[in-house]
Symmetry: C2
DNA sequence: GAACACCCTGTAGCGACTACAGAGTCAAGC
DNA sequence: GCTTGACTCTGTAGTCGCTACAGGGTGTTC
């Protein structure tokens, strides 16, 4: 099948497929005489595996490790378990951070209930004034909440 | 004060300060005869404001809006309230996504409790086999859980 | 043979930094 | 005056996982 068909089957963008090939997650497929990539069922399964991992928010490097085990069925899978445990830990951590963030944001939001002049806005004051500088050196800044949707 | 002193005072990296200047969040400071940046108290306060916003996981574009209001005290601050409401919404959304993720990950993790051979590993099977393809076309992929720590 | 959908490579952009390279500045000590 | 070492300067490239082109080639249908 062509790259477009593979993309349709797996719900993955064409550019993303080429990117995975470039990153070594997908093996280089054969080519037609006109230099088009030609994929088989095994590529579709591999790509589905990768997409399922990505939907679980795993990093490509983590997926690389899983792929190694996928193609080495004899090996002991303890590392797979450990990887997943670590990943679950990251997700837990991030949830805790965001929950604490939400509390702070709601507290801030309560400082200005109605639209008044910016001069008197409790939110701007809360952001600008002297405050508990928990984070001034802590640097556990956390990746974006803002989604990159297509 | 020099950029290094400002960095120490605010707990912000030097490169980050230059980056904020480049992005127009911090005004260009004066220079010494030797071309070193020279900052005053007002820069320190502004930078603290920005860092406080960042510690609340706001995007630089959101902060830009807040800065506009900060320097226009007469204006109606309704937009500030709206911005914060939207931001809280994003955080809430992300928490919900991550919680659902955690449930899926734990379910997957339960499929292989002990280290056995990769061939029989329930996790790899769970990732690879036929599954509920909720996400195959949904594409509500969510930014990384993996922290970029320094 | 023309239209059109598809594919190719390569490069640049996103956000918010971070990490250099290669150069210049400045204060303290000798 | 000269050296050492800490600091600063500009500019560019890298991070991550894509996404979006530009400028071309391929393949099928009418």
């Amino acid at each position: 099948m062509t790259i477009g068909e593979l993309a349709r089957r797996t719900g993955c963008g064409i550019e993303t497929i080429r990117y995975y090939e470039h990153e070594g997650l997908l093996p280089k497929p054969g080519r037609t005489s006109g230099n088009f990539r030609r994929y088989g069922q095994e590529h579709a399964e591999l790509l589905s595996f990768i997409r399922r991992c990505r939907s679980l928010d795993m990093a490509l490097n983590e997926i690389r490790i899983l792929l190694r085990f996928r193609s080495a069925p004899g090996e002991n899978c303890g590392e797979v378990n450990a990887l997943l445990d670590t990943h679950i830990g990251h997700v837990e951590e991030r949830i805790a951070e965001l929950q604490s963030l939400e509390i702070q944001l709601r507290a801030l939001r309560n400082k200005c209930s109605s639209a008044r002049s910016a001069e008197d806005c409790g939110i701007l004051q809360g952001l600008g004034g002297a405050s508990d500088d928990r984070d001034a050196s802590g640097d556990k800044h956390v990746p974006r909440t803002h989604s990159t949707k297509r």
